[in-house]
Subunit: 218 residues, 2 copies
């Protein structure tokens, strides 16, 4: 065939197909050869559009970051810093929950991914505008990232097996119900996320008060 008059591939098309494959079958299922096959081309063709397979994965991850709502950090948005952080965390978590298999790639850090950087920038801007000192604003961005990404990557319930025999009551006296965890999985993780998020925000509010921030600037 050689070169067709109209390109068979585009960056967007490759990223979309890669994302669909990862969503459907997981990170390991994505090989350049399989991805190319899905797109109806041969493996090496991808290298006309991306330098490496990893670059494709970064683009898939960034597309997920791009879906995180950041409107709560805009200057004219009415929400106070606590509500903004809470709403953002929920939006962030929801975006990750829709594409769980790509989360480990997102967790590597914003790196050079534009949408990932936009998230970091927005949180920092929102917190400093609300009266947090810059050094604290950086920390808040980091710690929220830990918690939200941790909840997605280290799902508690998903980590247990349904095989009851794995939990010898002699060895693990408190894990009698652990084999039921995968079943209740979603609700356990959701409850833990909400409890943790509330605790985090309550704790940060205490710290904000101690700052002398009696009249928060929004």
């Amino acid at each position: 065939m050689a070169r067709p008059r109209k390109p068979l591939l585009s960056r967007e098309g490759i990223v979309a197909a890669a994302g669909a494959l990862v969503d459907a079958e997981g990170l390991e299922a994505l090989s350049t050869r399989r991805l190319a096959a899905v797109l109806g081309v041969s493996g090496p063709s991808l290298y006309n559009h991306f330098r490496t397979k990893d670059e494709i994965l970064e683009a898939v991850a960034d597309a997920v970051s791009a879906r995180v709502d950041l409107s709560m950090f805009e200057p004219d948005d009415g929400r106070d810093w606590r509500t903004a952080l809470e709403d953002w965390a929920h939006s962030y978590r929801a975006a990750l929950a829709d594409h769980p298999h790509i989360v480990p790639v997102l967790a590597r850090g914003p790196g050079r991914r534009p949408a990932g950087l936009r998230v970091a920038d927005a949180v920092f801007g929102g917190m400093t505008a609300a009266g947090w000192p810059p050094s604290q604003a950086t920390r808040i961005g980091a710690l929220m990232r830990y918690f939200v990404l941790g909840s997605a990557v280290a799902s508690f319930a998903g980590g247990f097996t349904e095989d009851r025999s794995a939990y010898d009551p002699e060895a693990y006296p408190h894990l009698g119900q652990a084999h039921l965890l995968p079943e209740r999985g979603r609700s356990v993780d959701e409850g833990a996320f909400e409890t943790g998020l509330t605790a985090l925000l309550d704790g940060l509010a205490l710290r904000f008060e101690a700052l002398g921030g009696d009249e928060p600037r929004s």
Copy 2:
């Protein structure tokens, strides 16, 4: 050579060599062929001791879990639940910091790894003994896991690049200093971890009070 009179390999030896290789060069550097070469045998020999490469990785991860201090959750330990959680989180984080490359494997969940299960069991036992209702104790175990694993897997500072040109001030108005983050990396992450941990514990203490737990049982 065929079978030697004394086995060349042992599970412990394989796990130790695999751990060293992962620590030194990262997860992707571990191939069965390279690991075997380090041990002075041929690739397939490993399959006499482990069923899959993944089982080796699980064993490496479990060895890290086994180094997490759990003494604070023992019945006769004097620490109250908050101090116990705080000390545990620090020990957990330190263990992960010593072996950052294996953290993604640990994050997959305790699964069937004995030391991982022992951690989950100890936290749950410690929290219920302190007066937390079982459902809340489960959530606390999960949310602490999110935060500690998140801090290890999603290191904030390590995710930025030192290349200043990646942070166009037009696009990211608040990231002017972002290229300095890798340098300050360790201290930013440490500060964020401490801030987040304190906030989490402060928030949980509020919740504990609301439980009517005026006389905590230790």
